[in-house]
Structures are given as structure tokens and as C-alpha cells.
Amino acid sequence: MGITSAFVASQSGLRMTEKWAEVTSTNISNAHREGYVRRGLTLTSSEGGGVGVSGISREVNSALERMHRLEVGRLSREAAVVDGLEAYVAGLGQPGDPQGLTSRLTTFQSSFDLLANNPADPTLQRTVVEAAETLARSISDTSSALGEAGAAARRGIAQDVEDLNTLLDKVMTLNTRIAQGEDATTGRAMLEDELGTTLDSISGLMGIRVSRDAEGRVTLHTSGGTPLIEAGLVQRVTYDSANGRLFAGANEITPDAPGVRGFTEGRLAGELALQNEILPQMQVQLDELARALVVEFEASDASLAPGQAGLFTDAGAAYDPAQRDGLAARLAVNPAVRPAAGGALWRIRDGIGATVQGAAGDTTQINAFLSTLEAQHSFDTQAGLGDQITLAEFASNLISGQQFARVDAEQKLATLQAGVETIATARSGSEGVNVDDELQQLAAIEQAYAANSQVMRTLTEMIDTLLAAV
């Protein structure tokens, strides 16, 4: 190795140091940017002496990345459930709240107790009717609040599906650009950053599996294995809101559906669980409460002709077993007891079907109404709130059960949150920029540059000496 090759070697040293400084400064300037993965320099000894820069690497940790995405997906699912239930459950109140369903039921019952002592008092009769109306309104309001929660979840799903398709299209574009671009360059690393952020966003929406081909293009499947992006085709996600089903292209990917190769993580999974399971279940519970009120007050009313509506009605009509769905929303007090609607208050004492006033002190019908409020009834097991319990117990179970759904999701959320934070910290520790390290590198860069320049200076002096000798 002569002076010329020594020159070439130290020149390559200078070039490498410049590249190193570039990488380090990029790391420092992007230290706090979300989704930035630390860059490194891959060095090789170059053919014929000196050092070569074979490329810029991205210090990605794919195992942590995968775990982080999985955890974020689980977290987003619970977060979606909590968000979807929050407004509704807050309005529902706790058992025992003065504005709550159970208190309305108790108020209704105690007004009957008072009336039993003084059945002829029109004021007490009015109190009973008003308590019944408040109760019915409270149930139908709760039902419409539930309907709003459902509508919000549907809007959320529609929005998320749209976002998801945008993100999938973005992945396709990035795939093309990555395959066209050169490996191990700054441009490539930037594209990879963008791809990483996009995949992070997608995994917040749905559980995905990522694999890569030789050209660096990603293939995306749902965690169950249905293709989302494969063979250069993007399977756009569509939502069938009538049946609550989600599709990727022609393949069904509804979360939690049996036998479907879908996914269980991500916000969409949470929203669809709300839409398909949690909210319908709550609706069934409310409808069942309304049904019990309508049916039991029909059964305990001796004055009714067959098919005639009792104190509580399905929008004025008697109970029709085929029409239970959505009954809570239609629950209303029979107009026959409401003077404003042309009814008469005394029917609360004599029975809704009575055509003429009975004896002023007759408490038979009132006692029958009271005993039905106190008696245990059978409830549809589909509601899952117990059988052979009183109306008040059912209402109380309903509130605590629905509160529990949210509390449960919140607890899961808190547990997952801790896990996600741990993994996020590990991921940013492994992939992120440690400014201290980078500053240390800067010191090393300075030294390396100075050392290489010193070599060049010495070589120049050697040549000068030689030239002086000629």
C-alpha cells in the first residue's frame, strides 16, 4: 500500500464520517417524532482499502413492533366499548338514584300503597297515573338513549371502515414506491417510517398480520388469515349495517363471528361487538322490563276484555308477543286513565276496562295491582337478569348489569393500558432515538474526522518533502 492508496483510504474515512454525521443529525432532529425509527450506518471494508458505506439501516425491532400492534389493537377494542357505552350508562344512573329506573318503579309502587288507604281520593289517583307516566317515559327515554348509542356506534363503524380503506390504499401506494426504490437509502427509510405508522394506525382499527416479500412489499391479512392486501390486490372493507357484518372484498371478516376468519382486536372489533352483542342485549333487557309491565298489568286487571290494553300499553295497544323488539321505546300509559287524553282517573281504582264507576271505597283492583308489583314473575332468560324475581329486582339488576358491562370494559382497558405502555416503552427504547447516545456518537464522529484529516495532512507533508528533494 503506497501513499496513493493511503490517500484513498483516508478519503473514504472522511466520506464515511460525513455520512455518519448526516445519519446522527437526522436521528437527533427526529428524536421526538412519532413513528421515527433510529437510523444506523452499515459499514464495510472497501475493496482496495478504506471503509465503505453499504447503506443506511433502520433499527427496527419487528418482534416488539408486532407485540405493540397486538396490544394496541386489544386496547382500542376495549376503548371503543367504553366510549360507546359511556354516554348511555351515565344517563342510566345507579340503582337507587332518585332519577333512576328503580326509584321510578318504587315511587309508582308507593303511590299505589297510598291510594289503597284512600281509594276515592282523586289527587292520589292522579299521583298514581303520573307516577305510571313518569315510569313509562323513563323506560322509553332510556331506550332511545340506547338507540342513540347504537347510531353512534354505526356512525363510528362507517367512519372507521372509510379510514381503514384509505389506509389500505396508502399501504398499496407505499408498496409500489418501496419496490421501485433503492434498498438501504434515506428515501427507503422514510418510506418504511411512513409504512410503519400506517400499519400502526391499521392495527388500531383491526387486528392484522403483516408479512413481506423479497422486494419489501407488505402483504396484509386479518389476524384470522383473510387477505386484505395480497398479490397486488387490495380487498376493500365494506360494512353491511343491516346485518352487522364486515367484509374484505367478498370474504366475511366480522369479528367474533363463529367460523369466520376475521379478527378480534382493534376499534372496529369493539364497535362491532357493541353493535352486534352488547347493545342488542341491553335493548332486550329494556324490552323485557317493558313487556313485564305491560303483560303483568294486563293479567292483574279483571276488568279487561280479552285483547284489551291494560295500564301500560304498547303505544296504546295490548301486548303482542311478535312485537316485543323495541317495546321499551313504545311503552305508554293507557289514555283511558289520562284525563288529558279523554280518560278518567277513577279507572285506576276500578280497572282500565271498567265502563262505569264502582264503589268509592273498593280496593280490590288496587290490591290486585299492588300484589302484582310485589309478586315474582318469570322473565325471558335471553335477558340474562334472572327469573322469578319482582319487577323492582329486575329493574335493579338491569341497571347494575348494564353498569357492569362498562365497568368491566373499563377495567380491562386499565389492565391493557399498563401492558401497552410497557411495550411502547420497550419499543421506543429499542427503535427510538436516545439523544445521549447520539451525542456520544457526535464526539466519536469529530474524532474520526480529525484523525482522517490528520492522516491526509501527514501524507501531504510526505509528498512535499519528496518534491523538495527532486
Binding site: 500500500m1 503506497g2 501513499i3 496513493t4 492508496s5 484513498v8 483510504a9 478519503q11 473514504s12 466520506r15 472497501s46 475493496e47 482496495g48 482499502g49 478504506g50 465503505g52 458505506v53 408498496n175 409500489t176 418501496i178 419496490a179 421501485q180 433503492e182 398480520r209 408479512s211 416479500d213 422486494e215 412489499r217 402483504t219 391479512h221 384470522g224 388469515g225 383473510t226 387477505p227 395480497e230 398479490a231 397486488g232 390486490l233 370474504n251 366475511e252 363463529p258 367460523g259 369466520v260 376468519r261 510526505m462 509528498i463 519528496l466 518534491l467 528533494a469 527532486v470
Partner: protein
Amino acid sequence: MSISNAMQTGVSGLQANSTKVGRISDNIANANTDGYRRTFAQMVTSTSSSATGIAPLGVRAVEGADIAKEGSLRPTSSATDLGIGGSGFFVVSKNPNDPVLANYTLTRAGAFLPDKDGNLRNAAGLYLAGFPYDSTGSLGAVNRTGFGDLETVNVGSFTLPGEATAAMSIMGNLPAQETGLATPGAPFISTAEYFTPLGAAEQLQFSWQPSATANQWDLEISDLSGTTYGTVTVDFNDSGALAGTPLAYSNITNTAPAPANFAFDPATGVATLTINNGATPQVIDLTVGAPGSFDGMTQFAGDYSPPKFEADGFETGTLLRAEIDERGDVYGIFDNGNRQLLYNIPLAEVTNPNGLLAQDGNAYTLSRDSGTMQLNTASSGLTGKIVSQSLESSNVEVAQELTDLIQTQRAYSSNAKIITTVDEMLDETMRLKR
């Protein structure tokens, strides 16, 4: 030996040393010429002595070139700057795709850049030659002892005509636990890309339906428009050394509307698809996996790993850029993201590189002295490797040239001194007679 002979010897010394200075000046002038090879003058005695007596022993300079000695590679930033680490020469021609074989020369100067047509041309205006790959990625039988089969490497306006897929293979794992369930779940779907004879990318869909019988799957192959080509039932081994591999294929059903067709060979696990997309339908051999082989689809308990497909043929595309590896393979990267082998740049090796004749523009031609030429693949055998993004500096060592220069200068002065001394002596002799 007489005085006048001494004078002549001195003159021969002057001549020889001036030749040497000439070579040194060539070297110093070209010290920074990429691919330049050092030339030198060697001193050889010149005499006509015979057995009867010693004749004057003059000197003459024999010129030579140090072509075999490598220069050092210096890194550059252009991907088409090529350096050779080790032995060998690039083959270049005066004109693109030159039909005149005499116009082909060898060089180590690798500062190639595309000209207006995309042909790679070095700083001296010589075009780089390589062997073109055919569409299946093979060079075929090329003449490696002559320039006849070479083409100019073009990385510009290259449009890749499509090539139909003829063979395809599938490799992946099916989750064993999904079979044998009372109500098996939905099928696992995967999509594979193939290329039509016109170079368009089309897709085939594979649907793996787990069966209620343990370790049994129904494979259905269809296209995206909904035409089903056929179905086949695959049973997998559940025990023994071959557990997880296909056991047998049965229930082969062809549902493709003629002339499309689906055939399956249970012995080899190869499906033959006939796709009706032209006057002559396209036929694709699809390897699913021979019974007892781990190379295709397997079935183990665990996750469904989406199958990987490998298909030959390629899609029509326009060249975006080229990459050159150390074997001298030029890969084209096309706008559709595909990589395709375009050329192989061979390195010419001769028996005696120092015997090559220097030409204008850092080039050398074969001579009687150089021996036979062989066009070898870089990085194979003793042939050097091609290093992209680097250039080979001249193999001149300035320090050596300068020391030689000092030496030669001294030698020249000494010879001159001989002449002046002899002159003085002759003067002396002249003065003997008044």
C-alpha cells in the same frame, strides 16, 4: 575500448535515461487517470561482444507496462461507476452494439454513464458490453472466447414485454386444529398473481375449506370473476416421519367451462390449469406439494400462515433504474416493482495482461503477447469482482515515480558527466599536437 566508445556508451545512457524520464512523466501526468496502467522503462545492456573480446557495453531502455497490477478502488456516488477488484477487464466497443469485432477493446476505466439512448458509456466514449439475459433469466450458450455474442448494456428506455406464467408453486401451512370440527369454519382464502401471455397481471384465488374429517381439506381454485376451475380433497399425514405432509389427493373435480380445464396429478401434487384467455389457452402447472413432501403445503397445528406463491413469467413494465451486483449481473427495477435480470457484464481475462497493447482512452487490445482471451463471469473462479459505486484509480504510486525521477536525473547527469569528461580527454589529446 576506446575513448570514442566511451562517448557512445555515455550517449546511450543519456538516451535510455531520457526514455525513462519520458515514462515517468507519462505516469505522473496520468497519476489521477482512472484505470490508467503504469508504464516503465527497463535498462538492458547493449553490446556486440564476442568470444574474442569485449565490445563497448552500452545501455538501452526497454519499455513495458504494469497492466496486471491493480490500482486502489475509490468510492464514488454513482451506481454505474464500476470498479474491478481483482483481475479482468471490461469489454468495451467504440459504437453501441458494434458489429465490427475489431472495435472491441478492454479497459479497467469504469466511469460509465448512460448516453442519450441509455447505453452505458465511459468517460473515454467507449460502450460497455455484456451478455443479454433471455426472458427466463438464463444466458444460454454464449461464446466466451470472442466478442460476437456481446451487446451494449442499455439501462435507458427499456420496456419489458410480458411473459406468460407457465409454472407456479404454493408453500404455506394450514392449521390442523381447524379440521375435524363438527361445524368447520369458513375457508382460508389466498390470492396468487400470474401473468397472461400479454403481460397483464391476473389473480387466482385459492380457497382451503377445512373438513369435518380430521386432517382433510378441500382446495378450490377459482379466478376473481367467480369461475371455479376445480376442487380437490387433500388429506394430510397425521403421524410418522412425514406427519404434516400431504397424504393423498382425491375427489378431483373439474368445474371449469371448456376450453378452460382443471386437471390434477395425485402422484405429484401438480394441478394443471388451462385458462381461457386467448386463441391458445394459457396452461399453468401449479405445484401444491407431492405426497410426503414438505416443499409445498403442510398441515401442522398452529397459525394459518398465508401461503407464499412463486410464479414465473412477468408483467409488462418500464425500466426505472438498474442495479449491478458483484457478479456483474445488471438487474432492472421496473415501474411495477419487479426485478428482472437484464445483462451479465463479463470480465475479459488474458493469459498475460502485461502483453496487451495500449490504445487511446485507457483501452487495450489483444496482441500476440497477451495470449488468448476468455470472457468470465465476475466473482467466479479467479476472476475479480465488480464493485458498483467505485472507480479504480491508476496504479501509479507518485512517491515511487518521484524517487525514480531523482534517480534518473542523477543517472542522466552522470552520463552527461561521462560525455564532458570524454570530451575534455579528447581535447587533451588534440592539444598533444601543436
